[in-house]
Amino acid sequence: MQNLPIYPEQASTIARDFDLFLFVLLGLSVFFLGLIVLLVVFFSIRYRAGSRVNRELKSPDNYKLEIFWTVVPTLLVLLLFGWSTKIYFNYFRVPENAQEIFVTGKQWMWKTQHLNGRREINELHVPVNTPIKLTMTSEDVIHSLFVPEFRVKKDVLPGTYSTLWFEATKTGVFNLFCAEYCGTEHALMKGNVYVMELPEYQRWLEEGNTGDIAMASSGEHLFNRMGCVVCHREGSGARGPALTGLFGSEVQLTGGETTVADEAYLRESIMNPKAHVVAGYTPLMPTFEGQLSQDDIAQLISYIKSLDDAGDPGSAS
């Protein structure tokens, strides 16, 4: 209670763009507010009832003035819109080399899993100056992951993946909040983001990773155990499409549409296979709804992704 903070630290690449934009917007707002307040106060004093001033009006209306104050604010807000949208694009432009971390929200905690298998609860360790991509889903209701110091926020939905990326520019400990009201202990669904130097992060990843297996390896194990491998094998005549090199590629669907095979698409194809069937295949695959946990799905997807790196599922991250 001793000091009075008024603005959070700037700790990500996107926060820099955001803050510059915000301060310009704030400046313009203060200018317009000041203008209105000054005019109202000035008129109120000068034209208070009974004051001896000239009140002759040439005409009651002034169309030129009205057009002026319609056009100028319109142009201004359109400029602001353009600038803000440019920054907004960056929120969607996930860098190619972003390191992936899976996040699951549930009432009322955040669970995270790194590609090498290390898990955390209400904590998220990340390396500094490295783009991080969070692939997020919820086990129950809608949550929203929010890190004020990074100026990032994204809703976390049940039944699908959403993604959020950032690149921390400072080491330190930052707040991690759930921003979307999610029930009784919503206010306790928070934790910390620990931004560390890269070597320190790597040490951290390894030291705690005694029992855990890399996500992609767990995924491969599941892939075999659940029988996925029976249909999704390499070579012609397979009943399901081959998965090597699939992730991130464009997929031709039955019915002529195409889609990009991202996390959300892979997830849907496991849980609701008939929704978007790859062209040339019969919809034979059963749903795995209820048979796989959120962790299982994330591991399977990690495995499918790892098939891109020349079939070396062990080299996660």
Binding site: F21, V40, E149, Y181, H186, A187
Partner: protein, 547 residues
């Protein structure tokens, strides 16, 4: 002003208040003025309830721990505060009280087009209200006023179905009122009262009514869908049974964004009436203000997606909603400029209604400008779901709408009751509310920027000082709100007689006695001049004195 002196000496004639005195004559009345009074009493009751919940919320937020209430109770407090203040206070406030009372008077009509429908609206409002009370007695509801799925469809442990049913029924009250107003404005204008001679209060209500009729049914539909999903487990919003959780947000905001214009447009109408009277001047840019109300009503339907920039809606969807949101800001800006220009070369009187309007101008401008922060994609990502949103919303809805409502109530109170309230106390109330309001909600902008999420009763220690400031301000604001509850009823007994036109104002409502007779006009008036035909060179001697 010789007619006024003559009237003061005349014996009090029967008016709408004293013509019949039984309780039943009130409960079965079809007089728009009596129904307005019924609404006034009803929304005041709900305002007090909503205010009590707000007070408990603010007290809980004094410390970072949960000490006054636990999580479940806190969640119920903000939910009921929102539901009651929005559906049972703000939405009906100006339209159902002042609109009901004044529209026929301003149009030169005997009543609204459908007087019995008007009474039905009030009963529907109360049936909805009883649902809300039952919800409260049954242990409350904890979904927030937004009822987001799938939380509300399977996870909430509150009385979601009852609360949704209450909102559903109250919605019909709003729809019927809107319908009644539209027909009345079209069909019942006095001879000579052309569209461009209408007071801007009427234009504002016309725009409001369009939204009420077109948007409220969608709220009804969304609430029914929640009930269907919750009771019969039909998969609509819950993904585990095949639904889409974000679909609800689209449906909900398709109503609830236009609904904020239902709440603010009538307030803008009041401001135009009050600011002209107390600057003794024609409104600056009548046509622009009238059309900007319609522009807000229409564009307001096309911006709902700006509540969903981080909801995983598609990137391009976000862009379209952002640019439309920028456009809807323009008509509001035009109005603020026009009101300010109206003061130029006027004769400005600092009566209580005008003080409330000054408060409105400052607070609504802040509310509008911070709306830009939330409508611009990049900025919203940080501010969304934080206290910044809470502050912005309250600046528009309380700083804007409640200030305008109080301005209107103080302006037309002498007309409604025939009595003048204590003007010094009223001025004090306006100042206390303005100061207290800023103390309460300005710190919340900073809290939001710092990242304090909304709907948190347990929070990080670094947020405490600002929360304490906010709670202190709420105390000041609370005193400001309690004052009118004392001096206004008191004026009924000790207030000076107001006379027909205490503010020397223009408009048909000021040509009839205060309080008006049951049928308003002895003869249908004929309108021959523009609205607001004030002469800014004349000193309005004796204003507000009463008789």
């Amino acid at each position: 002003m010789s007619t006024q002196i003559a009237e003061a000496d005349a014996l009090p004639r029967p008016n709408y208040l004293n013509v019949k005195r039984s309780i039943l004559s009130w409960l079965l009345t079809t007089d728009h003025k009596r129904i307005g009074i019924l609404y006034l009493i009803s929304i005041t009751v709900f305002f007090l309830a909503g205010g009590l919940f707000a007070a408990l919320i603010r007290i809980e937020l004094l410390t970072p721990q949960a000490d006054l209430v636990e999580s479940d109770i806190y969640n119920r407090l903000f939910t009921l505060h929102g539901i009651i203040m929005i559906f049972f206070f703000l939405v009906p406030s100006i339209p159902a009280v002042l609109g009901n009372f004044l529209l026929p008077l301003m149009l030169g009509a005997k009543d609204l087009a459908f007087p019995r429908l008007n009474l039905l609206s009030w009963y529907l409002y109360w049936i909805g209200g009883v649902f809300a009370v039952v919800v409260l007695l049954q242990g409350g509801v904890d979904t927030g006023w937004t009822f987001y799925t799938p939380f509300s469809s399977f996870a909430s442990n509150g009385n979601v179905v009852l609360a949704a049913a209450g909102g559903f029924v109250a919605g019909f009250s709003s729809i019927l009122t809107g319908l009644n107003f539209i027909v009345t404005i079209h069909k019942m204008r006095a001879p000579g009262l052309t569209w461009f001679r209408l007071p801007l209060f009427v234009w504002a209500h016309y725009a409001t009514s369009l939204i009420q009729v077109l948007a409220t049914p969608v709220l009804g539909i969304s609430l029914v869908l929640i009930m269907v999903e919750r009771v019969w487990r039909v998969g609509i919003f819950d993904p585990t049974i095949g639904g889409d959780p974000v679909l609800f947000q689209h449906l909900f905001w398709f109503y609830s964004h236009p609904a904020v214009y239902i709440m603010i447009l009538p307030g803008m109408g009041v401001v135009s009436e009050v600011i002209t009277c107390f600057s003794r001047k024609r409104i600056f840019g009548y046509h622009m203000i009238a059309f900007s109300s319609l522009a807000i009503a229409i564009l307001g339907f096309l911006v709902w997606g700006h509540h969903m920039f981080v909801s995983t809606q598609a990137m391009y969807t976000g862009i379209v909603f952002s640019i439309l949101t920028m456009l809807v800001a323009i008509p509001s800006a035009i109005k603020v400029f026009n009101w300010t220009a109206t003061l130029y070369k006027g004769q400005i009187y600092f009566e209580a209604p005008m003080l409330f309007v000054f408060g409105f101008l400052g607070l609504f401008t802040i509310g509008g400008l911070t709306g830009l922060f939330l409508g611009l994609l990049a900025a919203d990502i940080h501010f969304h779901d934080t206290h910044f949103v809470v502050a912005h919303f309250h600046y528009v809805m309380v700083g804007g709408m409640v200030m305008a409502y109080l301005a209107g109530l103080h302006f037309w109170w002498p007309k409604m009751t025939g009595r003048m309230y204590n003007r010094q106390l009223a001025a004090l109330a306006a100042i206390l509310i303005f100061v207290g309001f800023n103390m309460t909600f300005f710190p919340q902008f900073i809290l939001g920027a710092l990242g304090m999420p909304r709907r948190y009763h347990v929070y990080n220690e670094e947020f405490q000082l600002l929360n304490v400031m906010s709670t202190a301000g709420a105390g000041v604001m609370g005193i400001g709100y309690l004052l009118p509850l004392i001096y206004m009823p008191l004026s009924l007994f000790v207030g000076k007689r107001a006379g027909a036109n205490p503010w020397l104002a223009k408009g048909l409502e000021w040509t009839v006695p205060s309080p008006p007779t049951t049928y308003n006009f002895d003869h249908t008036p004929v309108v021959t001049e523009e609205p607001y035909a004030y002469d800014n060179r004349l000193h309005a001697a004796g204003m507000g004195q009463g008789e």
